[in-house]
């Protein structure tokens, strides 16, 4: 099996039915996507397939074949953080941070489709991601900041 992860071709010897999450984490050592529930309820494992957020814990690896897989590790380009990453830092939109990669990937999927979402659209799009620390108000704020270009330029 061959997968294209963060713009790089990566070989995998896993069973194609194996959930993508474990191929990424255990075979490719990309541990940014997290296990949280194994039933698509928490969103910690979210990655993008051709720009669409999916729950990698429920996605068989073969589904991702031939698609562009973007994980949290692929969001930073040439040492430059993605505006969402900048905005999450600036808004302090995390506590333990375990949900953060999944949050950012879900938000990236939203902004890909809806570049300027209002608060209700953000909440709806992020409904499948759990932050047990409860930083929801800051995550909403961070996504808004990124969508209007205010994530960057934090000292």
């Amino acid at each position: 099996m061959e997968l294209v992860v963060n713009g790089r071709r990566r070989g995998s010897s896993s069973d194609p039915e194996r959930p993508l999450l474990y191929v990424l984490r255990e075979e490719l050592d990309l541990t940014g996507a997290k296990y949280g529930c194994g039933e698509g309820q928490c969103g910690a494992c979210t990655v993008l397939l051709d720009g669409v957020p999916v729950r990698s814990c429920l996605t068989p690896a073969h589904v991702a074949q031939g698609k562009q897989i973007i994980t949290i590790e692929g969001m930073e380009r040439d040492g430059q953080l993605h505006p969402l990453q900048e905005a999450f830092i600036k808004a302090d939109a995390m506590q333990c941070g375990y949900c953060t990669p999944g949050m950012i990937m879900s938000a990236a999927g939203l902004l890909h489709k809806t570049p300027h979402p209002d608060e209700a659209e953000i909440k709806r799009a992020m409904q499948g991601n759990i932050c047990r620390c409860g930083t929801y108000p800051r995550i909403v704020q961070a996504v808004r900041m990124a969508s209007i270009g205010k994530g960057a330029a934090h000292a």
């Binding site: 541990t31 590790e73 969001m75 333990c96 409904q127 409860g134």
Partner: protein, 707 residues
């Protein structure tokens, strides 16, 4: 301090074997020179930081101090490393402690490294819980950093033969204000082998002079988090790593009767361990684990369990330890009351549900084992592992990567012991990462409880009688902070049908729910407005201040409740923090939905160290509190958890997010208290009171559901 029923746990642990046996010079050589400042704990601090409360000898000569608190090393490269036994679980201790060093040493926080929760490197610490990092560890680190700064000034003064008072520390250097000369920390510490041991009475920068503390600071390692580079225990990789899984009993208390693992043992690369009640497998490819588990035939006993979540209160009352007697004084006092209320409140078991489940990697080297795990008690894990394997504590090293939250739920060493057992058999490092279902079933829960209150007040609002009995959910914050002479408040231990333990503000949440709901009921009985009734009985100026602040920001009393909109208020005090919460709830009569649409919380915990992250912590606690108030309950029956999945045990999501406003009351004249817990206690009773105003229904059971 630990919660009532947790104290017993800690007494099981003996004091640690102290590791820093070399004398100071050898110790410094190990570090490669520089300047070291060690804090020797005495009195209450030493007792608080050590599990045994036992003093372990004095300090003297060239030996290392025995009761070591936090310590700090200015490295020859000019950077600073601080060592503390506290851990980071999302409460942002790493950021606050780093900011403390940046403040005292007047240096950029990027040059400060915080080594936390590594049992081989950091001083012993009882654990990160009870909101103790801010009141206990912050002052320790302030002191070692302040002394380090003065030592650097001494070194510069000697070198320049300059007047000490003319030297200032800024941007990682000492500068002579007269000559303009500057020496960096690196230049000053290079070639030095200096140690100083200090005690608690060291002067630190007063809050009014703070340049870093008291100002907004974002998370110090946020970049690692947002890029996915930070490795939690789940993410730790080791050469040759195997993945392990434990075969669990089908119900609580079931015992292994027989095991046939012949088929599993024949699978290539699979290690099977059956040792007493322990049954687990490990292999290099985690996708083969299910097959290996499936190949093991295990027979279990089938114990009967009578307890269930539907009649939890009945169980707890029937299994109370010792007699409970009503107070005759309160009975007497009630005679002079114009309004009397008697009510019972019910608290379910709830689950911490940390998004990172329990996980550990264990790796043996001879009779030494190294553990990486997510935990709030690195030294507790070390001692549990040592006990499980009959080792000296010194043979166990535990390292805690910043952890995917705990909320009081990660005090124990289950995953560490399991990984170590499998790794010992396999001769390779093993990772055990619990599934969500395991976390929901085999961790421990916030205790359920029953609270009975009877009270009386006079027409003018004066409370004349107050009696409060808490069964099982804990004694913390059981006393009313209102001025009630002769109040009787008692905690009663009971048997627990489930394994129970610490939780973010566990007892205080239950006790505040009952008390603050009851305050409204009592106000109603004498026809008083809830805020006026509270203020009438509150003498403490800090308590009054948060109530007045929350009410003003909320616009309390400006709009009247109606059948679809309710307004509620609560107030309280716990672990050094004062809190008041006002909420607005919307009632959907048809669907019986209670939705919190707006919440304003005022909080005061002394001097604010970091307004940004304090607000974040308070908002998060309010969100988590909405879960306990309206959504969460562990359902159990016949020794099983009935809702051990996130699809069945719901926690707050974006759709539950109200408009939240946090108002901080900053008291620079009061030493900072912790804030990880207290902000959770106010929201449930405020919601309950708001629901009553809208609907006339008094909901006394958590989670609150409309009839």
């Amino acid at each position: 301090m630990p919660e009532t029923f947790e104290v017993e746990r800690y007494e099981l642990f003996s004091g640690p074997a102290y590791r820093f046996t070399p004398d100071r010079r050898e110790f410094l050589k190990l570090l490669g020179g520089g300047i070291v400042v060690l804090l020797a704990l005495d009195g209450a601090d030493a007792v608080a930081q050590e599990s045994s409360g036992r003093r372990r000898g004095g300090r003297g000569g060239g030996e290392m101090p025995q009761n070591l608190g936090a310590w700090l090393h200015i490295r020859p490269d000019g950077g600073v490393t601080v060592f503390t036994g506290k851990v980071e679980v999302g409460q942002n201790a790493r950021t606050s402690l780093t900011s403390v060093v940046a403040e005292e040493l007047r240096m950029d926080r990027g040059r400060i490294e915080m080594v936390m929760g590594d049992t081989q490197l950091t001083p012993f610490d009882m654990g990160t819980f009870g909101s103790q990092t801010t009141p206990r560890m912050v002052p320790q680190i302030q002191k070692v950093a302040a002394v380090a700064r003065e030592m650097l000034i001494d070194l510069a003064a000697q070198q320049w033969k300059a007047e000490r008072s003319r030297l200032v520390v800024e941007h990682g250097s000492v500068r002579n204000q007269d000559s303009g000369q500057a020496l960096s920390f690196a230049e000053l510490s290079k070639g030095q082998e200096l140690t100083r041991t200090i005690t608690a009475d060291t002067r630190v920068t007063p809050a009014n002079d703070w340049k870093v503390l008291g100002h907004d600071q974002t998370k110090v390692n946020a970049r690692e988090i947002v890029t996915g580079r930070h490795r939690y225990a789940h993410d730790v990789a080791r050469p040759g790593l195997l993945y392990g899984r434990i075969i669990r009993p089908p119900v609580y208390e079931a015992k292994l009767q027989s095991v046939d693992s012949t088929a599993a043992e024949k699978l290539p690369g699979v290690t099977v361990v059956h040792d007493g009640e322990f049954l687990g497998v490990a292999c290099a490819d985690s996708s083969k684990l299910a097959q290996a588990v499936g190949a093991i035939k295990a027979q279990w006993s089938t114990p009967q369990s009578v307890a269930n979540s539907r009649d939890l209160s009945g169980y707890l009352k029937a299994h109370t330890h010792g007699p409970v007697q009503l107070s005759s004084e309160v009975t007497e006092a009630l005679k002079s009351a114009d309004g009397k209320v008697e009510s019972t409140y019910h608290i379910p078991y709830i689950a911490h549900t940390p998004l990172e489940t329990r996980a550990a990697v264990a790796e043996w080297d001879g009779d030494h084992v190294t553990i990486w795990t997510g935990s709030q008690r690195p030294f507790g894990v070390r001692d549990e592992v040592a006990q499980a394997f009959g080792l000296n504590s010194a043979n166990v090293r535990v390292m805690i990567p910043d952890t995917g939250s705990g909320y009081g739920g990660k005090h124990t060493a289950e995953a560490a012991i399991e990984a170590a057992r499998l790794a010992k058999a396999a001769g390779k490092p093993v990772k055990v990462a619990w599934s969500r279902e395991e976390e929901f079933t085999w961790a421990y829960f916030r205790p359920g409880g029953v609270i009975e209150v009877r009270s009386g007040a006079r027409k003018d609002g004066t409370i004349v009688a107050w009696e409060f009995h808490n069964y099982n959910s804990g004694g913390s914050a059981i006393e009313s902070p209102y001025n009630i002479p002769g109040q009787k408040c008692q905690f009663h231990a009971t048997d627990s049908p489930l394994r129970q333990g610490s939780y973010r503000g566990l007892a205080a949440t239950a006790n505040h729910f009952a008390r603050e709901c009851h305050m409204d009921e009592l106000a109603e009985s004498v026809g008083m407005e809830p805020l006026a009734f509270r203020l009438k009985n509150a003498e403490n100026p800090r308590l009054r201040k948060v109530m007045e602040t929350a009410a003003e920001s909320f616009g309390w009393g400006k709009t009247k409740s109606n059948p679809t909109l309710g307004f509620g208020i609560s107030a309280g005090f716990e672990k050094g923090g004062y809190i008041s919460c006002c909420v607005e709830v919307r009632i959907d009569r048809a669907s019986k939905q209670i939705k919190v649409v707006r919440a304003v919380q005022a909080f005061e915990c002394g001097a604010v160290l970091n307004p940004l992250q304090l607000k974040n912590q308070i908002e998060g606690a309010m969100m988590m509190g909405i879960g306990g108030a309206l959504i969460e309950a562990v359902q159990f029956e016949n020794g099983r958890i009935l809702n051990p999945k996130l699809s069945r045990y719901h926690v707050p999501r974006f759709s539950d997010l109200p408009a939240i406003e946090v108002v901080l009351v900053d008291r620079k004249d009061v030493q900072a208290a912790g804030a990880g817990e207290t902000p959770i206690v106010g929201i449930a009773p405020a919601i309950g009171n708001a629901v009553f105003r809208a609907t006339g229904q008094r909901l006394r059971s958590l989670p609150m559901k409309l009839a």
